[in-house]
Symmetry: C2
Subunit: 258 residues, 2 copies
């Protein structure tokens, strides 16, 4: 054994949770503390305190695959690399991009030490914030048609709402995609009662958190932007009014026989 | 102000995560440390270290609504109550039961200080363990027909698999419900390719963890028990073979136009 032996690199893909440091798991914190290189979308990297000697590689939001290949290249060169995502890295975030890069990349990347560390996803954080809207069967769908045809989004919304799932909508809107959430509401109004609860939640657990509980009949597409998660209840989802406080929303565990 | 003023009670519903203490959030740990009364299913309560003066109310697995009412009664009497669930309390766990009890209970319960603290759910922990199988649209479904007709389960499985969602199956089997997971596989084999990846994961992050990656064609219902989460990929989900190691599984973010 030589003291100069090359240290084996590694790649850890880390979910930072929704933003509040009290929701970052100790496992994720330990992995962040061990890294020599941090890679991610700028605003997420900014949540990780700088440490001497640790390189921050901030990137734009729309270059996931390039970012994944960069991370793998660094790990293959012996660096201790952490790729960070908001929420959970496996839910509409960086983990899938890293494995896609491995799948189509150098055979040697398959021998790398790659670990995914789960985080509190936006859908769990938002649900907890308003009660228990995900208390029964639910779906998570990305409304973005950057990576899939809009027809597929509509088919999935129709199938899931028609079958009684509660819906968690990721990527509901952005400046470049302003109309999808309105079309989604129009489509769902033909399937679900107007009284179905709708929750718009932006920046949950952060200082600028905004959470609004409304109904499908009254839901305004303008309330969603690229940082918003939208939850849409099923016909079974209930709202508990509270005098002087925001209501609770929950989906009962029981469905009676027809 | 009197020193003898009655302290207002509270109720916190806490997700403990899958089992590894390194996956318990600091927020959840702080809430556990503040509680005077802990309520939950015995094996979950056993994960929380005993402290002097803290009352543990261990209950059976099948009495969620009684347990919820007990917790609310204690909080209304001024106790600092924590209801604990494994994983995330809002996903097929105690949070929905607590809000159901409030909805149908004393009006004064609506004025109680009730908080839900999210946890790393089993579906996130299992997905992270094998790669990124939830990298695109997914559904979570309970296979239990204790609280809903089996016909509803079949309709939802059919709708979700047919629309291309990855499926996370909770409560796949128990001694009293041995046949549902086999029927589920039979139904899905008529919709999905036999090559669709299937993951059986039991006790993830605990010492007795067992994770198996197989295919829908070869999936054996006997591999699931009441502690197992079953993930079923879509036709798009891919397996990355690794010589000498267990494979990675991921679902690509992109769906090409037809």
């Amino acid at each position: 054994m030589s003291a100069a032996i090359m240290r084996a690199g590694s790649l850890t893909i880390i979910g930072l949770g929704p933003g509040d440091p009290a929701m970052l798991t100790p496992q994720a914190a330990a992995a962040l503390a061990a890294a020599t290189d941090l890679i991610g979308y700028g605003p997420y990297l900014a949540r990780v305190p700088a440490r001497p000697g640790v390189v921050h590689h901030a990137t734009d939001n729309r270059v996931e695959l390039d970012r994944a290949r960069h991370a793998l290249t660094l790990a293959a060169a012996g660096r201790i690399v952490a790729v960070v995502s908001s929420g959970d890295a496996g839910v509409f975030a960086m983990a899938s991009a890293v494995f896609e890069a491995i799948d189509h990349g150098a055979a040697s990347w398959r021998a790398l030490d790659v670990t995914v560390i789960p985080g509190i996803s936006a859908l769990l954080a938002v649900a907890a914030r308003v009660g228990a809207p995900l208390g029964h069967d639910f779906c998570a769908i990305s409304l973005s048609d950057n990576l899939k045809p809009w027809e597929v989004v509509e088919q999935r919304l129709t199938a899931a709402a028609g079958a009684g799932f509660v819906l968690a909508l990721y990527n509901p809107a952005s400046r470049a995609r302003p109309w999808q959430i309105g079309r989604c509401f129009a489509l769902l109004r033909a399937i679900l009662p107007g009284s179905a609860p709708v929750i718009f939640a932006t920046a949950v657990s952060r200082l600028d958190e905004v959470v609004t509980v409304t109904t499908l009949a009254e839901a305004d597409p303008a309330m969603a932007d690229m940082r918003t998660l939208v939850l849409i209840g099923s016909a079974a989802t209930r709202v508990i009014a509270r005098p002087g406080s925001s209501p609770w929303v929950y989906t009962p565990r029981r469905i009676a026989a027809a």
